[in-house]
């Protein structure tokens, strides 16, 4: 399953860090962060609940970049 989320982040390198953090989150098969359009496209593993995974993703992203947000 693929979903697209709106994000808020200030710098391009921080966006890259978020991408890395999201990809390391369990339940995420692949995540791409587009800094220019402020979007995160997430492909989930089979049979996971996107909402719960996204909560983890947000937590992990906040760890690497405290000033970011993901809207879901």
């Amino acid at each position: 399953m693929k979903k697209s989320y709106k994000i808020d982040v200030d710098c391009a390198n921080c966006a890259n860090k978020m991408e890395l953090a999201a990809n390391k989150t369990e339940g995420v098969k692949n995540a791409v962060v587009n800094f220019m359009t402020l979007k995160m496209n997430v492909e989930f593993e089979e049979g996971v609940e996107p909402k719960t995974v996204m909560q983890e993703v947000r937590k992990n992203c906040k760890k690497v970049e405290s000033d970011c947000d993901i809207f879901f």
Binding site: D10, C11, A12, N16, T37, S66, D67
Partner: protein, 628 residues
């Protein structure tokens, strides 16, 4: 400017004024320290908070943490020697100026590009059963509904015109400034602007499947497909920051130790200062921002010109194109048959066309269509009767009492007309009046008026080889190729042969870096489009299959756009490379100068912010592609 940008701008201005004012205040010791801490905290409090979060989350290479370390270190050194605090504040100030500029420029180009692509319709005028017009969300309109489009409005959903005549402005989609005239039975593509007449449409698609949604979706997601340059810079940034931080640590410890061992004064202050300079240069933001911004601007500028590029990666590959392979019919030629020559005998040209058009009055054969197109006022008051189709031969009819035969040579022979052969290539239509030969009409596919110039421009922009693939006969293919100036022709190919030919060309290219582009009209050539390094589909307005299969989509069918697309990609990639070399070069230069003590913190932060600003301004240049 948003709220955050405004607040930060005010902080920047206040800090600058305070620093200037403090220069004129003669104080020393603790009071001086306290006075200088005011602007430092005003400009740096958020960085310090983020730095603290960085420590908490064990992010050793967090930029804010590094910036905080560098400035706090500089302040500590100044405190120790009762020196100048301005430097630390300046580093924080310029860092914030850089961040502010980045946020402003990126926000601005985001808006610019969404304005360029301002084709999203906000509503549709739906007509209900009672004939009432309701403004509704385009998403709610079902297939087969009737909607009305007033002058000045955008066509919200693809549909067929059921009432009215108008001109449509397609420039937002195709970059073509000439309006398109449409009337009942024609297709109206969503995203076009209705110029003068009121039209009613029967929708043929849902909003989500309409051209305008597809295009917006495609452009918005294009920059998510990242290029190799972006991957490179992301990886580089991942190594760069830790590497610089470790060198900073080494610089702070190793030289003083070496000096101590060799019996000299260790000069701790000097070396720690140089290490702090390293931390200032360690922020990779200038490198990282300029690359996606360049691609974003390049893709945005291209879509304004009617060239849709489906990803940054394709833009990158397209810039390496060395061979361009064309499909002939529909790409270099119009793909419709037209009368290209009229050779009458004992009658004038218009007379011959006139008769032929009459005889073909009711036929729907493509040849009949082109004959009628060559004589548009066919429905005059001539008396046409007894039309009889002779299968495999042609058509016979009575026009104003004369028996007219229109058809092939076999038909001429069967009525005893002495036909003469023609040197032209194409389909030859012979005409006989009362059994006497009256001449022939040549019908063939015609080369697009811009094809020759397009190929010339491609060659001028560095394309080594142009190839034409076609299912047509050798003679027709050779003739077209010569006329256009194509290097190599492969004729009489079946669709699967085209794939094999493209594969051959890909295998035989001089180096791996040279890319093979295939250009087709998206009909029957989806396999070739996907097999080539880059598949370009042209004239794709409204054709889903083509949009699906191709990497680059040209909204209209002008071959000049191919050269334009390649030039846009080259310009964008040139900017990307300039930015990569420039930013990395300046950073490394500053590191070297910092290590030997020539560059101080002032220079380091100037270089850092300056490089970022220049790289961003350079990246925005990728947006301007109109005159390429």
């Amino acid at each position: 400017m948003n709220k955050k940008q405004k607040r930060n701008l005010i902080r920047i201005i206040i800090t600058s004024l305070l620093v200037i004012a403090l220069n004129f205040v003669e104080v020393g010791g603790a009071l001086k320290f306290i006075l200088y801490m005011i602007p430092y905290l005003i400009i740096g409090y958020d960085i310090l908070i983020k730095a603290f979060n960085g420590i908490k989350n064990l992010q050793a290479f967090d930029e804010s943490l590094l910036m905080a370390l560098a400035t706090i270190g500089a302040i500590a050194l100044a405190l120790y020697t009762d020196g100048d605090y301005t430097e630390a504040i300046a580093v924080m100030l310029f860092y914030q100026i850089g961040e502010w500029f980045q946020s402003y420029a990126v926000g601005k180009s985001r808006r610019n590009i969404s304005e360029l692509m301002d084709i999203r319709p906000d509503y549709a005028n739906l007509i209900d059963e009672n004939g009432q017009i309701n403004k509704v969300d385009p998403d709610e309109v079902e297939i087969g509904s009737v909607i009305i489009v007033q002058p000045g409005e955008k066509v919200p959903i693809d549909g067929i015109i059921t009432e009215g005549t108008t001109s449509l402005n397609t420039s937002a989609l195709t970059g073509e400034s000439l309006p398109k005239n449409v009337s009942v039975g024609d297709e109206a593509i969503s995203g076009c602007v209705n110029i003068n007449g009121v039209i009613k449409l029967k929708t043929t698609k849902e909003f989500g499947e309409s051209t305008v949604s597809k295009i917006l979706d495609l452009v918005e997601n294009a920059s998510s497909r990242k290029s190799k340059s972006e991957d490179f810079i992301t990886k580089f940034a991942r190594i760069y920051t830790p590497a610089v931080v470790f060198s900073a640590v080494a610089l702070a410890i190793l030289p003083p130790l070496a000096l101590m061992i060799s019996g000299n004064a260790p000069l701790w202050q000097t070396w720690i200062y140089r290490a702090l300079t390293f931390l200032v240069i360690s922020c990779p933001c200038a490198l990282v921002i300029s690359i996606p911004l360049s691609f974003f601007a390049g893709i945005g500028g291209a879509s304004k010109e009617g060239v849709l590029i489906k990803g940054s990666n394709y833009l990158e590959t397209l810039s390496l194109a060395k061979t361009v392979v064309f499909d002939k019919t529909g790409t270099l030629t119009k793909g419709v048959f037209q009368v290209t020559a009229v050779h009458p005998e004992n009658i004038d040209e218009t007379g011959l066309l006139h008769l032929a058009a009459h005889v073909e009055r009711y036929s729907t054969h493509p040849i009949a269509n082109s004959l009628r197109a060559a004589y548009p006022n066919e429905a005059d008051n001539c008396n046409v009767s007894e039309i009889e189709e002779i299968s495999g031969y042609g058509i016979k009819a009575k026009v104003n009492g004369d028996v007219i035969h229109v058809g092939n040579t076999k038909l001429m022979e069967s009525v005893g007309a002495k036909w003469s052969p023609c040197t032209h290539l194409g389909t030859i239509i012979h005409v006989a009046i009362n059994g006497v030969y009256a001449g022939h009409i040549v019908i063939s596919d015609v080369v697009k008026p811009t094809s020759k110039d397009a190929v010339y421009r491609l060659k001028k922009s560095g394309i080594n080889k142009t190839v034409m693939l076609t299912g047509d006969s050798k003679e027709a293919a050779q003739k077209a190729a010569q006329e256009i100036g194509i290097d190599a022709v492969y004729a009489e190919l079946l669709p699967e042969d085209k794939v094999t030919k493209v594969e051959e060309l890909i295998e035989n290219k001089a180096s791996d870096k040279d890319k093979v582009v295939f250009v087709g009209d998206g009909i029957n050539d989806a396999p070739v489009l996907s097999r080539a390094d880059i598949g370009i589909a042209m004239g794709a307005m409204g054709s889903d299959a083509a949009i699906e299969a191709a990497d680059v989509v040209l909204m209209d069918d002008d071959p000049m756009k191919i050269a334009k697309a390649i030039k846009i990609s080259r310009k964008c990639l040139r900017i990307v490379h300039e930015n990569i070399y420039f930013a990395i070069g300046i950073k490394i230069l500053c590191l070297i100068l910092g290590a030997v003590g020539i560059a101080n913190m002032w220079l380091a932060i100037f270089a850092d912010v300056g490089v970022m600003i220049l790289a961003i301004l350079n990246a925005i240049r990728a947006l301007f592609v109109k005159d390429l």
